[in-house]
């Protein structure tokens, strides 16, 4: 039986892995390769790393550090941040990533998704959508350009049409808060897509994981809970398993 995945989603900033709080401040997690080694030994199912220096400051993608992480990572590795061209995708996959996460470039040009999917396959493309709630409505948020007048579900459906393999759906409001995933947001997406949804932002305890799976998430991304609470990946999975959600236990 297919298992629900538990996926650390962390940021790369100044050669360190960090965790953002509501997309605003950052807490240091640690050295990239050392952290990947720890994740490998703790039975998480995949790893997503977003290079925010590359995405925010237009710096080149840090392929050196991606290579170092990939060398330690015997599970799927998704790299995002600052991927704007097919050459960037080649660079990131060549450095050892299995998938790329695309965000700002696809908002501007959804055909970029199709281009990647055609060359590398849909399984390679994770479309990352950051969402903020404003006056009871959800809108796509861009780290660079702020709030956009785009409906997140419509954007996700467009990405799916262009050949996206998965959607990484992040609530900016819940990011790093431990208040739980944005279930209302998730409900809007439930049953709307044929591709898997990875929900991100807000997991602070195992019951949040259960809520998300109840409401249509296929996989769970998180970071804060793994580093700044008492809960381990195994504890979250055990709780899910007790509640009859299939997970990979060690």
């Amino acid at each position: 039986m297919l298992k629900h995945r538990l996926i650390p989603c962390v940021l790369l900033k100044n050669w360190q892995l960090v965790k953002s709080i509501e997309f605003d401040s950052y807490r240091t997690i640690g050295h990239p390769t050392a952290t990947v080694r720890v994740y490998n030994s703790r039975n998480v199912d995949e790893l997503i790393v977003l290079d925010i220096d590359a995405s925010l400051n237009n710096e080149p993608i840090n392929s050196e550090i991606i290579t170092d992480m990939a060398n330690e990572c015997f599970m799927p590795l998704t790299i995002g941040g600052g991927i704007r061209t097919i050459d960037d995708v080649y660079t990131v996959l060549g450095a050892g990533a299995d998938k790329v996460a695309i965000n700002s470039e696809a908002i501007k040009n959804p055909l970029f998704i199709k281009e990647i999917a055609t060359i590398f396959g849909s399984q390679c493309v994770v479309c990352s959508i950051d969402v903020k709630k404003v006056d009871e409505a959800y809108r796509v948020f861009s780290k660079k350009d702020g709030l956009l007048d785009i409906d997140p579900l419509e954007l996700a459906l467009e990405y799916e049409k262009q050949g996206a393999g998965e959607i990484l759906l992040t609530s900016v409001d819940r990011d790093g808060t431990t208040k739980g995933y944005d279930i209302e947001l998730l409900k809007l997406f439930k049953n709307a897509l044929k591709i898997p949804i990875i929900i991100n932002g807000g997991m602070g305890e195992p019951k949040h994981a259960i809520e998300a799976l109840q409401n249509g998430a296929d996989a769970l991304a998180a970071a804060y809970i793994f580093h700044f609470t008492q809960f381990t990946p195994q504890m979250i999975k055990e709780e899910l398993s007790l509640n009859h959600y299939p997970v990979r236990l060690s």
Partner: protein, 209 residues
């Protein structure tokens, strides 16, 4: 004779991750498309992600189809196909229209199309053994492995060593004499996956007889 492992580079997917999995379990593997290197190898690995048609096109244009047929079918070199590399040994695939494969096993590659299934089938899924194989030595039955694919390998059951289930039961591992193949990615499946890589690398042609 010690193992000489080649990973066939035909422009499809993440070869480095397969290479470092071999390194992790103590074996050196060369990524190459050179015919002579493939001919001098004891173990041939055909990984790959992407589309079937492109893969066959690349294998053909690089002259690798003849080399693989010669070394695997005639010279009985140890072979491991991973993911797309497993699908390629089928007779044909229906991905983007019908396309002929290497045809080493009587099989077709067809798309998952069961009802509300999310496609691709992506994530960790358990593998149930269909018959004993040296490939699964020291790996418990029912272990989870990482999959990512939209098409599956449909064949008679004669060479099947592992099944998995996604909307339907499908073949996820097989062995026909010197030919091994997995739909899942052992190189991405942590300790059990690395064990499979190690098992394959440790094989000798003689040990199979």
């Amino acid at each position: 004779m010690s193992a000489s492992i080649v990973i066939v580079d035909y422009g499809m997917g993440n070869l480095r991750s397969v290479q470092k999995a071999f390194e992790k379990v103590g074996f050196r593997a060369i990524i190459t498309r050179e015919h002579e290197l493939i001919k001098s190898a004891t173990h041939i690995v055909l990984p790959g992600v992407g589309a079937f048609r492109d893969a066959m096109k690349n294998l053909n244009s690089l002259g690798l189809v003849e080399v693989l047929n010669e070394e695997v079918l005639k010279n009985k070199k140890l072979f491991l196909g991973i993911c797309l590399g497993m699908q390629l040994i089928a007779q044909k695939s229906y991905e983007f229209g019908e396309c002929e494969g290497l045809g080493w096993i009587e099989a077709e590659v067809i798309k998952f199309d069961e009802g509300d299934l999310k496609i691709p089938h992506v994530g960790w899924n358990s593998v149930d053994y269909a018959s004993p194989s040296i490939l699964f030595e020291n790996v418990p039955n029912g272990s989870d492995f990482y999959f990512v694919h939209s098409y599956y390998f449909n064949a008679l059951n004669s060479y099947v060593i592992g099944h998995s289930s996604y909307g339907r039961n499908f073949i996820c591992a097989l062995q026909k004499d010197n030919i091994f193949a997995t739909q899942f990615h052992p190189e991405k499946s942590q300790k059990h996956g690395l064990q499979i890589i190690k098992n394959f690398a440790s094989l000798t042609k003689e040990s199979l007889c």
